[in-house]
Amino acid sequence: MDEARLDHLLDQYQQLVDGGQEPALDELCRECPELRAELSRRVHRLHKLGQILGDPVAVEPDPLSLSDDRTWVTGATPRDGTVVEIPAPPGYEIIAPLGEGGIGVVYKARQLGLDRLVALKMILGGSRVREIDLARFREESRAIAALRHPNIVQIHEVGEFRRQPFFSLEFCAGGTLARALSGQPQPPQVAANIAEVLARAIQSAHDKNIVHRDLKPGNVLLCVDSDDQAGGHSTLIGDGPTVDVAPRLLCNPELILKVSDFGLAKRVDDDSGHTVDGSVMGTPSYMAPEQARGELKSIGPLADVWALGAILYELLTGRPPFKGSSVYETLEQVRTGDPVPVRQLQPKLPVDLETICLKCLEKEPRRRYASAAELANDLKRFRTNRAILARPIGRLGHAYRWYRREPRLAALVTCILVLTATLPAILVGFNARLTHTQDMLAETRRANVAALQAERAAYLNAEAQRYYAGISAAARMRAQPYVGWTWDARKQLADACLAGTPDRDPMVIRSELAAAAGSIDLRRKSTVAEGHLAGAIAFDARGRLAIAPHLSQPLLGVRFVALIDPASGTEKRLPFPGKLTIRWSDVTTALTFSPDSRWLFLGLRSGTVIRWNVTAADPTRFGWDAHTGEVAGIVFSPDSNWVYTASYDGQVKRWPIDGDGKKAAAAWPERPANPKARLRSGIAYWTGARTGVLVQGPGGAKLLDPETLAELGTNDAQIAPAFAAVPGEILAHPASSTVIVERGENLDVVLWDRGICQTVSSLRDAILENGSAHTGQIEGLALHPSGMLLATICEKEGLAKLWDLATSELVATIPAASGRAIAFSLDGRTLAVGGDHVTMLYEVGGLREQIYLGRRGFPIRAIGQTADGRMATIAARRRADNPNQGSIVASIWNAEGKLEHSVFQQADGQLRAEHFQIAASPASGQTVFHAGNDELIWLNRGGVNTVPVKFKHDGHIDISLDRTGRAWSAEGTEKPGMREQGWSDAQWVSAGWSTGTRRDLTCVCAADNCLVVGCENAYVRVIHPDGGPIRECECFERNASTFLTDRANTVRALCVRNDSALAVAGTEDGQLWLVGLPDAKPLGHWRAHSDRVTTLDIDPSGEWLVSGSRDREVRLWRQTGERFEIYLILRHSRPIRHVAFGNDGNTLLVVPEGETAVRCWRLNELRKCFVDIGLDQ
């Protein structure tokens, strides 16, 4: 059919009609008679559609105006049941339909067994009804069943018939109240009586937490006691009592009212979704304003109170309080309009009843009766001629209502009224009124202040809760850390920091934040290489990640290495060389980038090595058979020119990095002694005192010459005992002289330095009884670039673990099912953990605000600064079998924390005293080390000189250098003395002053022109050399002024401020004492710790004081005025041995007892953390 043509024809037709003509179809179709029939059909449709759409041209009144036909809005018109063939549930006989509700149909029926009349309510539509309707139906039956009240329709039975729910109710023959009323006003007493009865019935429902929500005259049924329940003669509603009889019926004292139709009832405590679909339900005229607004949440019992008021209104006036010409209008009236006062319609009505009625119809629920019972009681008071409680709406009330209706006009009128009222007031009774106004104002102000205070208190309370919640959550996490806790704790603290409460203590937040910042932690970042079990992982310097799938299986298409850039998420596949003959199924064992990140090497179990040049866009690849057994490790020379491969065939080979693989440049041994030996082997490139390739050979660890692979001299024979017969992988961190040796399930940390090779610790998981690190073979090891963290992975256990080498403790355990490979990125910020079919990338937290320095394997015994400002440490370890012997390393570190040189080291030497000391005198360029034996090691520009000293006492020896380079030692002897030490000489100086009580000296600190000495009897003595020779003992005695702190307390730590004007002493019981110099004036003291203060320092600027204690806390104090105020607390797991400020004033060095590294807090970074969350800005 020619659509375009037809359309054109129809268009013409329309235009003609619009032009007022009556087009003839024959005329239109003259040229195309074949289209006439279709055009005719369309014209017919056009007219039909025109009827529906109306014609917008027509300007006559809208045919859809709202004048008539409102019956369908107001409710049901029962249909006469002409077809009466209704199957009834067993035991019932249906007599006639009574009416239909929204979802149910109600029949009058006879219950056969009991032979009584019932109302039988069944659901419409059976299985086709919506779930929500079923739910409402059940809700109704439940609601009615829960209620037992003479004025509520009682339920007889609930059941199912033909999969349709039904229930039977008491039958009321009197019809509904609506029908009985029929618009006729009732006498006040009758109306009050009916309303009271209904109110009490509704109250009983409210008592059961059921709100009716659709109370209206149509839902109140009437029974008369004389109703013949058993008889079948009761009339249907349809031809029930007529309007004429209704008044009589309502006045009948035997009339019983029954509230019915709980179809919309809801349980106040029920939150089932089916009433919360946003629909407004109920009947508009009787609907409470909150219901009309659709505020489902606020529809409660008071909505029923409103409805009761509306019913009372209708009883009194014959019409509901609100009735518009449309639903919209009615809803609007309910929401915003005020009902016509009852007495305007019924002037003779008692005022009280109007008051009661209007109180129910208050828009705001809280202004209504608080409950239906209160309404009932007031109605009863009215009926019994007592005073009602409700107060009529006064003029103010009316004004308020008017104001609510017309806020703008009201404001204007109010302004005018106020103006006109106050003007004469000012003129006439100025004074009195002013006083009164002032009183009023004061009262108002007081009320306002009280309200503000209450509001403020509530706010503060909430904010305080927020603060404490954040703080305690962070503290809880610190006490019971889990993987990722530091990030959570930071979040909590940031939130706590925002809390506007005076309880907020910045020190507490700082301390918790420092704890989170200083802790090593992991957080899952992303997953890469999904679908592959990683056999080996390597990072390059750019942060790219290479992952070799464990199984190289051509059938599965896994003959490649994935090169992934986590930053961009891109993955490139580097295929194996095509020409290479690779075993059918092989396993990847080693994967490494060269130090310059140009090359990627992969080792396979078959002994094959594959190489890619990864700088090219399309990486070139090459592979060769390097070994006859599994490639165990691949390392490079630092210049990336040579590659070394170690294999389980027992050989180590050296290859040019871009060679053709035909012949190794060197091999060790030349020929494997037993080619079939499957010795485990590890390999590492070592750059310590000697440089070489460190391998695990059959006879133990060997250091091989990096060029010839010849075994290096026997001077390093000490290596052998430590590594001997240890088959396992090795990892080396030459910067901290550390070698990690894996022995199956165990891990040993070995210190390997000139002259010393000792296992310094064995890492163990506290929950494993056998003292091992894992319960199965450790498959992979990775060392953090800092050398302070070790990551291990165990396939059998399915776990990866992160170890802190400074404390030798386990810091995190993470799941790694079937994991075999693990690696740190070169920046140390990412840990890749290969697991079953996915590789997880974790962010490594910590090691930013607090880093580790000065690790030498042994526990740090003392830290200090050399005369030229470098950090110096003494680390020592006593032998378990002989405490007087042990190994010592004294080291000096550069500003970057790299080992500069070892001042001295000795293995298993004499180690008697517990006192280790480093003292320096920048002015004289002298530094002195005392390492627990009878020697002082002097260090200056001239070199190192060891001077034997015979100390008097093995216990307390403290040494300090004065500006001239003399060493003063406080030796705990019964005869206190001082010792002056020279560069090459040690001469005992008898100090010999008399203290009156003989007490040991415990510590000494040299200031510019005096010495400060701490004693066991709690004295701090300031000794002025006074320019005289030190030998003049009396001079000390004469000039020494004394002050007593607490005689029972021994001074345990001393420090002097740079300007030599202030000394701080810390005592056994945790107090700090400020002592003014040089006159030893006491300046104050306070309890700083709960246990012995072990160490003190003041920063170069003199603003900051740090104290460490046996109570495991380091406290940082800031000088404000005359006082030091606590700034933050650093909590550790062990007693604090030593604290010191770095020279730059931005680092704080902390050594807890027994840890093998110095914790270096970078205060600038820490302050940034504080600023980040809004502290200290």
Binding site: Q14, I52, L53, W72, A76, G81, G101, G102
Partner: protein, 202 residues
């Protein structure tokens, strides 16, 4: 507001709405609500089931309330924009209403014969098939309007769902009246093609 609106008045109303004057919005919204009520009543007037079912009132209230809620959220850019949004809401409510009576789960569905061909247990409530078909046609009608091209739908939205007169539409869209007329005719022709014989009757 059943009398015609002058465009300036309309524009003034919209300006006031945009300035946050709720009363101005209410005037327009009220107009739409009344139109919805009128259209619904017309659409369902002769549907016999409707009179029986009390819930009709509820359904209409729901529709009106939802419409109010929807429109109160709207901040129109132009008068036409407002009317079109209102018309969409009205259309949606009408569709919902038809579906309520005649959806897959609608109340009107129990007229269907049982599989054995006998009448269902509630057959005395049965709705004559012709009336059911008319409801189906109403559904099709509203859906067809929805499917019309933007420009045609606009005309029906303003003219039918919002009940605006030709001159009002012309002022709203800033076109000549005869253009409105022409586009209106075109929209109706499209609708006729889309609906075929299935045009609902009143």
């Amino acid at each position: 507001m059943s009398e015609s609106l002058k465009t300036t008045e309309l524009q003034d109303l919209v300006d006031r709405i945009r300035a946050g004057d709720r009363h101005a919005a209410d005037a327009l919204i009220r107009r739409s609500a009344e139109r919805l009520e009128g259209l619904a009543r017309k659409m369902l007037r002769d549907f016999p089931g409707v009179r029986r079912w009390e819930q009709t009132g509820d359904v209409l209230q729901n529709a009106v309330t939802r419409l109010l809620k929807t429109l109160r959220k709207v901040t129109p850019d132009s008068v036409a924009g407002f009317f079109r949004l209102a018309a969409q809401a009205v259309r949606r409510e009408l569709l919902d209403m038809v579906r309520h009576y005649h959806g897959p789960h609608g109340l009107g569905r129990h007229h269907e014969s049982l599989p054995d061909g006998s009448s269902g247990p509630l057959s005395w409530l049965a709705i004559p098939p012709a009336e059911v078909r008319n409801l189906e046609r109403w559904t099709a009608f509203h859906e067809a309007v929805e499917q019309l091209p933007e420009a045609d739908r606009e005309l029906l939205e303003l003219g039918y769902y919002e009940g605006l007169k030709t001159d009002e539409i012309a002022r709203l869209l800033v076109v000549e009246e005869w253009t409105v007329r022409r586009r209106w005719n075109k929209a109706i022709r499209q609708l006729i093609v889309a609906l075929g014989d299935e045009i609902p009757s009143l």
